[in-house]
């Protein structure tokens, strides 16, 4: 909220400048978001005296006034206002002025007469709506006076960020002035003013007030006035509103706004002649309608609280009044509401109806239910003074009076929390300055503090310690090293694994990217991912950010496309949470590691796939996974793995461990490539991070180095095309048994439905050099088993 410096100064009695004040607030109370000069736009507007007035020679409705602006400065100004008269003091905008309404004044000829400025209406000066004639100033206004100064606009605005805890007291001038005075070390100036007691006429004409919903309407104070005259507010009142960013409307509305700014208490004025019978604070009926001041009609619910007469709902309690019972120019009798409503309910109502108002903002912040009585006194004084009306009655229904509460605070606790000793006298002084009553408990380092009801944020010892800490200044606390046991911290295996993986990948040439955790329906569709498996954001920023990612791949593919503009080939990875909707509807979240490779060359016979597979194998080895536990299987059997939808059906595989899929690898489905505008140069892999981590070998053991040399022989076998390398490797392991130490595929050749595989075979034993007879036998076993199992023949 932006506060007028002058008004704060007047109420608090501080002598500090605006800059000093904001520094004081920053250090001890609130964040100051800015200090600025009030932009009134009246730099070129001065008071002038109409010394003579003549008819315009060429226009019936215009007159030519000679206006004195200074001892030697008298100007001729053309004016069309009906209310201008000789001897008046008026506000003159001289050429060069840009008025708040945007009008730029220059010397112009009006029907042949040069006008050296403009005599302004109230509206043109930004003071309300009156445009019926020029604004006439009091006779004692000095000639040449700067209007900005005269109106009190020569002011500085201090923008203070009042956080929710202090919304109950500091979103008001008095509250902030009280705070400033406390920081300054004295009592606030406004508190010195004695208020007259309220005298309610014995005939009390105020309508009866009934609180039906005592949970949500904590207090309802109503004032009735008779014979009010609606009019314009005096200048001092208008200027205070304008400085606070509110538009003056009429004396009644202005009084309610002024008192809200001053005290924080929202007020609402009803035209009493539009009310019928008793006033009730009740829940709205289902479907009940109310036309608000804004002209909008709201359909209410049982959860809304309304103020009603015996016929209709009149106002949405604590949020906004209705148009039918509002104050108009014709209002003669007035009913003024000064009430207190439950903060949570007001918040729900304004959220439900999307109606944030100055009133709801304050009620949401838990206002003091004892405030209405004080405000009523001010209201009576102002309404009677400004409207000529008379108080004709008052009702005050306050079912459960809120009283001050006590907190006992030990000095030991203060020291323990702040980490510094604060002497008793200082504690007492700080709290007393804040207006809290402090009582020492005899012979103990303890005090009992009474909390005024305007400070609902002070509930326990810690709240008071904060008050002491900030009043003293946190800079007075010296850093102190903790005394802690030298205990080893528990290791986070997940985090450690994450770092090892990321570090390896960076060394292996992968760039780490981070993408959003959500994408749109279009992305899911392009990738062929099932929509129903996605969790959805209820209130997304845009439809493109509506689905929580099931995989990083839809966005990684998008990023691949973007990066291809700058780079020919690259490897990317992202590590992060992916989400899925479980059958129960509950969210599931796991960490997923996903890779994407773009190669310079297109994949012919799966080169892109095998490039990726090589990376995966090296990765597994570097992590010391139990690789023999992980099987690459063809994807058909794992339809439940959603990302398979974007993989090439015959160039992809699933990593399986103990029968469970723990990852995928593959080239991209041609359909998906097309949707993303990519070429077949892309392969991806993805892993369930936790599954990989659990496959890390717990212990690693050294294998003695081979003492006796291996003998290497090559073998080339021809199989039917359907036989896979994996099957042949399995066969080699079986048939080679103990003597075949290593094998390496060095050629694949396909022709006429047949496939020839050539391997280097390394035979050896740990305790001897093999004889050629032993080797021949092993070799023959392999050939025989291949022939038996796959009808393979030895190629020569």
């Amino acid at each position: 909220m932006k506060y007028s410096y002058h008004w704060l100064k007047e109420l608090s009695g501080t002598k500090k400048s605006a800059e000093q004040l904001s520094k004081l607030l920053m250090t001890h109370a609130f964040e100051v978001e800015g200090i600025e000069k009030f932009e009134h736009g009246l730099e070129g507007v001065v008071a002038g005296k109409v010394v003579s007035l003549e008819k315009h020679p060429n226009a019936d409705k215009l007159r030519v006034a000679r206006v004195q602006l200074g001892k030697r400065d008298t100007r001729e100004i053309v004016c069309g206002a009906p209310n201008i008269a000789q001897g008046q003091m008026v506000a003159v905008a001289v050429p060069g002025t840009k008025l708040p309404g945007g009008i730029e004044i220059s010397e112009v000829k009006l029907r042949g007469v040069t006008s050296q400025g403009m005599i302004c209406s109230a509206k043109e000066l930004g003071l309300g709506d009156d445009h019926s004639g020029i604004m006439v100033l009091p006779d004692d206004t000095p000639v040449g006076a700067l209007m900005a100064k005269y109106f009190g606009f020569d002011d500085t605005l201090i923008e203070v960020k009042v956080l929710p805890d202090r919304g109950s007291d500091a979103l008001a001038y008095q509250g902030l002035a009280r705070e400033i005075a406390a920081l300054d070390g004295h009592a606030p100036r406004f508190a010195e003013k004695q208020l007259k007691p309220i005298r309610v006429p014995s005939y009390n004409r105020a309508p009866k007030v009934i609180i039906e919903d005592k949970q949500d309407c904590l207090r309802y104070l109503g004032l009735s006035f008779k014979d009010v005259t609606i009019g314009t507010s005096p200048l001092w009142l208008q200027s205070k509103l304008i400085l606070s960013g509110l538009r003056p409307i009429n004396n009644i509305v202005d009084v309610t706004n002024y008192l809200m700014l001053l005290t924080g208490q929202p007020l609402h004025a009803f035209d009493a002649d539009q009310l019928s019978g008793a006033i009730t604070a009740r829940r709205a009926k289902k479907g009940e309608k109310l036309e608000l001041l804004t002209g909008e009609t709201k359909r209410l619910t049982r959860d809304d609280l309304v103020i009603a007469d015996n016929k209709n709902a009149l106002a949405l309690a604590g949020v906004m009044g209705g148009v039918k019972s509002g104050v108009t120019d014709k209002t003669r009798n007035l009913f003024m509401e000064i009430a207190n409503f439950k903060s949570g309910l007001i918040r729900q109502t304004r959220t439900r109806h999307n109606l944030a108002t100055d009133a709801s903002y304050r009620f949401e912040r838990n206002l003091d239910a004892n405030l209405p009585a004080e405000v009523a006194r001010e209201a009576i004084a102002l309404v009677t003074e400004l409207t000529g009306g008379k108080l004709s009655g008052m009702r005050d229904v306050y079912p459960k009076k809120i009283t001050s509460w006590k907190i006992s605070l030990s000095l030991e606790r203060v020291k323990s929390v702040l980490g510094t000793e604060v002497p008793m006298f200082e504690v007492v002084q700080h709290l007393a300055l804040l207006g809290l009553k402090v009582k020492k408990v005899a012979a103990k380092e303890q005090i009992e503090v009474s909390i005024p009801t305007r400070r609902p944020d002070l509930r326990d010892e810690w709240d008071l310690i904060e008050e002491i800490g900030r009043m003293r200044g946190y800079d007075k606390i010296r850093p102190a090293a903790p005394l802690v046991p030298l205990a080893a911290k528990p290791l986070n295996e997940g985090k450690r694994f994450e770092r090892a993986v990321k570090t390896y990948l960076a060394h292996a040439g992968f760039d780490e990217v981070m993408t959003y955790s959500f994408y749109g329906e279009k992305d899911a569709e392009r990738a062929g991912l099932p929509l129903e498996r996605h969790l959805e954001v209820e209130n997304p920023l845009s439809p493109e950010l509506r689905l929580l990612r099931l995989s990083h791949l839809p966005l990684l593919l998008r990023k691949a496309k973007e990066n291809i503009r700058s780079y020919d080939a690259f490897d990317l990875f992202e590590w992060g949470s992916v989400f899925a909707k479980q059958k129960s509807g509950e969210p599931a979240e796991v960490k997923s590691l996903e890779w994407l490779t773009v190669t310079a060359e297109k994949s012919g016979r799966g080169e892109v796939f095998f490039g990726m597979k090589g990376r995966v194998e090296a990765f597994f080895e570097s992590l010391h996974l139990q690789e023999e536990e992980i099987v690459f299987e063809s994807p058909e059997r794992y339809a439940e793995v959603p990302v398979l939808s974007l993989l090439h059906p015959t160039r992809s595989a699933v990593f399986v461990h103990a029968g469970k899929p723990i990852g995928v690898i593959g080239e991209i489905h041609p359909k998906v490539l097309k949707a993303y505008g990519l070429e077949p140069r892309v392969a991806v892999a993805g892993f369930v991070v936790d599954a990989l981590r659990q496959l890390q070998k717990k212990e690693r053991e050294f294998t003695p180095l081979q003492k006796f040399p291996y003998a290497v022989r090559d073998i080339s076998l021809t199989f039917p095309r359907t036989v896979s390398v994996g099957q042949v490797e399995k066969l080699l392991r079986e048939a080679g048994s103990l003597l075949l130490q290593r094998f390496e595929l060095f050629d694949i050749y396909e022709q006429d439905g047949e496939k020839s595989l050539a391997f280097h075979l390394s035979f050896g034993a740990s305790d001897r050099t093999l004889s050629s007879a032993e080797m021949d036998a092993a070799f023959d076993r392999i050939v025989a088993l291949a022939a038996e199992r796959f009808q393979a023949r030895l190629r020569t």
């Binding site: 900030r470 802690v484 986070n492 990321k502 955790s517 920023l541 969210p587």
Partner: protein, 355 residues
């Protein structure tokens, strides 16, 4: 007699070596002075026939002389090899580029996260983490931000659509069933305290979400760091927080850093503060980065609210601790002078490859 002969042999050999110009000449020399039939070798072979006294005198001398000649020979061999190479033909342009070897790059956020984790773990803090999809209870209620409290407006939230029956939105009792994308890393405080007893010290890095429109300085997705230390009353205080924070920033920036606390409000701490560090760019004199104030606003902190301890299952007043959080994204932007926050989540390799 024999001694003189050996010395003469050495002198002669050495002199002869100096005249050697080619590999062939060197081979001739080798045969003559070091070969099996060389004079020196003959002497060495004849040692066994000498008297004990002569052996003592001649043996070491003959051996040493052979070693010396051998050494000179090896040196000459090296010299000749070196002279035989055409260095001009061997020459390459060493300023031409090396064979390209791709290296990868960790995201700047990750690099910073590692750096920060290392500092904290060296101070005895454990690294904790938690889910990004959170329940309303962990993200708000347990952190003393009840529904219908204006403090909820301090963090714009992405809510998840209720699964299955939409009406199952909220349980009024106990743990709320609505899900959201966590708006801060603080829910991990509760999760960790539920399963651990003080004394405890943790840091929590993580991705968080705010329902805010993006521009050069606002993102709906960013990274945060959370720090929590809890112990018995008297063992951890505001003064401790100041110490740990100063220690951390001093380590992080590599120079003495001071922190300044200003009063603030967070529902989950009491007292609460904003904390600033002295601007290291201008040394506190005022510059555009610190908006001429000499201080940089870095995050929020405070003493853990007793309601939060209660929500985590601790008894009110039994423990005390501080919690603080700061934007990892903001620190990365400061550190690398990144002017547009959106680059961090852009996946643009022209950006990533700079780190």
């Amino acid at each position: 007699m024999l001694q003189e002969k050996i010395q003469a042999l050495y002198a002669e050999g050495k002199k002869g070596l100096e005249t050697v110009k080619t590999k062939a000449e060197l081979e001739v020399w080798e045969v003559k002075y070091l070969g099996r039939k060389s004079e020196l070798n003959e002497i060495l072979k004849g040692l066994k026939d000498l008297s004990a006294e002569e052996k003592r005198a001649i043996g070491p001398l003959a051996n040493r002389t052979k070693q010396d000649l051998l050494r000179d020979f090896e040196k000459m061999k090296q010299d000749l090899l070196e002279k035989s190479i055409d260095w001009e033909r061997e020459a390459i342009d060493v300023t031409a580029p090396g064979v390209f070897m791709r290296r990868g790059h960790l995201h700047p956020i990750t690099q910073l996260e590692h750096q920060i984790e290392d500092i904290f773990t060296s101070m005895g803090f454990a690294v904790a983490d938690g889910p990004e999809v959170e329940s309303e209870w962990y993200n708000f209620d347990a952190l003393n931000v009840p529904a219908d409290h204006p403090a909820r407006d301090m963090q714009d939230t992405f809510w998840l659509k209720a699964g299955g029956a939409k009406t199952k939105a909220k349980k009024t009792d106990e743990k709320s069933e609505r899900f959201l994308l966590r708006t801060h890393t603080s829910p991990v405080q509760i999760r960790y305290m539920e399963t651990h007893k003080p004394p405890l010290r943790i840091v929590v890095p993580g991705r968080i979400f705010r329902n805010e429109a993006t521009d050069a300085s606002h993102e709906h997705t960013f990274h945060q760091f959370e720090c929590l230390m809890v112990d018995e009353p008297g063992k951890v205080s505001v003064a401790t927080f100041k110490y740990v924070a100063e220690m951390f920033f001093t380590q992080f920036f590599g120079e003495k850093t001071h922190i300044r606390l200003r009063p603030s409000y967070f529902p989950f701490t009491e007292p609460s503060f904003e904390f600033d560090i002295n601007c290291l760019l201008c040394k506190g004199h005022g510059c555009p980065t610190c908006k001429q104030s000499g201080w940089l606003e870095l995050g929020g902190a405070g003493m853990v609210h007793q309601n939060v301890f209660e929500a985590a299952g601790y008894k009110r007043g039994e423990y005390q601790g501080f919690a603080w959080g700061f934007g990892l994204t903001r620190m990365a932007m400061m550190k690398y002078k990144i002017s547009d926050i959106r680059l961090l989540m852009s996946g643009d390799l022209r950006f990533i490859r700079q780190f």
